[in-house]
Amino acid sequence: MKEKNSAEQLQQGGSFFRLMMIYLIVCSIGFTVMMIWVNKLMKEHDKTLTTQICDLVAEKMNNSISYMTSSAENMAAMLTAQELKDFDNVYGQTRFLKGEAYISMGYVDMQKRIYASDSELEEFEKWDLLEIAKQADPVSISPPYRSGLTGQPVFTLFANITYDGNKKGKLFMTYPLKEIQNIAYTETLADETEIWLMNAESDNLIQCAGKDKYAVGSWANAKLTFEKNINDIDRDDYIDWKRKMSDGEDGAALVYKSGQTGYTQVFADIPSMHGWKLVVRIPSSAMSSAMMKFRTIVIVFTTLLLLATFIMFVMSHKRDEADKEILENLSIHDPLTEVMNRRAFDMAAQTQLAHIGRDDGVMIFIDIDYFKTVNDKYGHDAGDKVLKEFAALLKDVFGENSLIARYGGDEFLVFQKGADRAEAEEKMVELNRRAHDIRPANCPEDDHYHVSCSCGGAVCPENSRDFEELKSLADSALYDVKERGRDGHGWYAKGSGK
């Protein structure tokens, strides 16, 4: 019975374990899928948000540059309206004017005579600024170069101007590159946003804003700054983005990873700066901080929830197991004496006897002599206690290798597994003797009452292999013992019983 129970328990435990494994696997898969989706959504969110920010910054930059070029156009328009004959007088009047932003002003006439200071004339030649002037339509901007006048990087704006009737000349105004750097600076995301001027042909870059104080205002190259460390998986996207730039498109966005850092990068056309684009770059992490917190909270709460569920399952299972054990105990044992009940004994004994080669044993019916007297004389509580003590004595005498059951009110049935008649006889003698030590709890000292019992045995296979028959034969043997005066033991013999 114990083996069967253990096997059953193992089987049930195994089912629970398998169920929990399936639960954990399903939860892990679900959790993984959820995190993949959250990461994907975050990436999309970052890309959308940073693209929008890049677009906004690029728009702001372009608007500011347009404002600057408009100022030059307005100045040129104003001078055109004055119907100048040539630039000699006006240059003399305006050459020392200091604008709020620009550092110098000059003119180029139709014959390509340049009205400028000596150092500026050198710069015109050095940087071929007349080529830039030719591109004015109505305005053009030169690439940055270092000014002899200020020692700092500058750029020159050219605007068309008409003089002496219908002659076409140019007004030029030189600004410090810091003007564009000031436009580019934004309080929000100052440390994260990088703004560059990029030449589509040479990949040359000038940084207008960024957190590296050494890089701002300095030259760089996109092949080294952007392309060199780009992850292979994003390389084709980058090449496509560059192709759009080279093809003269107005703008395009790109998301890529360089090492461990993800970036969103946008270019926008600068209409008056031929060949140059505005590039805005923001690391994805700039936008991710809030989403990272969200993701962390999701991970923590989901993990806690799964853990709590798992613990609840386990606790519930343990409680079920405990309840089952109690129920099993109740269905197997006699609650008073804690030996087997009749039903359990019958099942166990039948199973035992059904095993071929393991059916040796002795069936013994035991009866407490005159038990009704104990109840009547000493009370039912005393009677219960006697039953409990007697059952304990049976366990002690016959041991764990025997099936012991309370078969009736004061009747007990014992199947001594694997025992022969001699061994059983020895046990019965001991039982008879030791039963005398049991006295009712409230028995007075001068009352010499003691318990006695009668035992009747039948041997398997000699007497029978059949459970019911063996029981009946043992019962018959018990009857004979009672007939003979009780407090003893006896064996079935032909003719025993009623």
Partner: protein, 344 residues
């Protein structure tokens, strides 16, 4: 008691072992030495203080020699010092203070850090000391004048020389051709400007099918790495026809590999001067050019200007390009080039 003694012994042993195993600290850069006079110092003459980037470099030794010659020629007292590493701008900051305290009339400074030294330059200039920057500018307008190479223009000249030599070597304008580039430290403003200038000129003037290899090698200022980068470039593109090194180390790396592999159909354009590059320039077998800065002229003019400033002269310009010279096989032996090389 025995246990206590054992415990103390164990602790001591552990502490000793830990001490032994402490990682060796990086040797600290020695701070700049005090100012040292070059030539004679005569009372009543103007005192000019020269602060260079790196006392251990041959480039800066030329500057110091030039300062000495200029001091003798123009009659002024010249004192010099500088950092022992180009990363040490703090020493230069201290030297500026010392120059002011010593009563300098003018300071010639090659700043190691254009950003960090800007406040100190402002302070010195505001104190009435004339400030002449040489070789590198600073992130301030509060100085008198700056003499340096316009590296953007120098890069353009390098590209112009590359195109010229490639054409002279018989390369067809209609056939595809590849040119590789190697840079030193990516954070060097000079190197970045040279690269920008080279690419600016190239994209505007090179034949359509003559392309720059997109993978620009970067050696981080390390010569051994420069040799490796050169080798990689030649391995990855065996039919490369030109290579451009933006600084001395890059040029040396290319020169070594070109000679090792016998690549006499590859044109090398480099910067500054080294025996390895010089050997290729002088050889009839190879085609090489280098762009020389004029640092001697830089400091010589710097001293002259500093004295003029102390005499009350005003200069309109803040920045003077001291220019470069392209040196190749054709002009290496000319007097002008030899004179410049004698100071290199």
């Amino acid at each position: 008691m025995k246990r206590l003694v054992a415990a103390v012994l164990c602790l001591n042993i552990t502490a000793g072992l830990t001490g032994c195993q402490q990682p060796q600290k990086k040797p600290a850069v020695e701070p700049a030495p005090p100012f040292k006079a070059v030539g004679d110092t005569v009372s009543g003459r103007k005192d000019i203080y020269l602060i260079v980037k790196n006392l251990g470099s041959s480039y800066w030794q030329v500057i110091i020699d030039g300062a000495e010659d200029a001091a003798e020629e123009f009659g002024c007292n010249m004192y010099y010092s500088g950092s022992n590493a180009e990363s040490d701008w703090r020493s230069q900051e201290r030297l500026l203070d010392e120059a002011v305290e010593a009563g300098a009339d003018a300071v010639l400074l090659a700043p190691n850090d254009a950003v960090e030294l800007a406040p100190k330059i402002d302070e010195v200039h505001d104190a009435g000391v004339k400030v002449v920057l040489i070789d590198t500018t600073a992130n301030t307008e509060n100085y008198d004048i700056c003499y340096m190479t316009d590296n953007l223009m120098a890069g353009q000249l390098a590209a112009k020389e590359m195109l010229k030599q490639l054409k002279n070597s018989g390369n067809s304008l209609a056939e595809p051709l590849k040119v590789g580039i190697q840079v030193g430290a990516q954070t060097s403003l000079s190197i970045n400007e040279r690269l920008a200038g080279f690419l600016q000129y190239w994209t505007r003037n090179a034949p359509k099918d003559w392309v720059i290899i997109p993978d620009i090698k970067c050696n981080d200022g390390d010569y051994e790495k420069a040799v490796t980068c050169a080798a990689e470039l030649f391995d990855e593109d065996p039919d490369i026809k030109g290579v451009f090194g933006t600084n001395n180390g890059s040029g040396k790396g290319f020169a070594k590999e070109i000679k090792k592999r016998g690549l006499n159909d590859v044109v090398l354009v480099s910067f500054d001067y080294s025996p390895e590059v010089a050997e290729l320039i002088q050889s009839d077998e190879y085609t090489a050019s280098t762009i020389l800065q004029r640092q001697y002229h830089m400091v010589h003019t710097g001293v002259e200007t500093a004295l003029a400033l102390t005499a009350g002269k005003h200069f309109n310009e803040k920045f003077v390009d001291t220019g470069v010279v392209v040196v190749n096989r054709n002009n290496m032996q000319t007097a002008e080039i030899q004179e410049i090389l004698s100071h290199s």
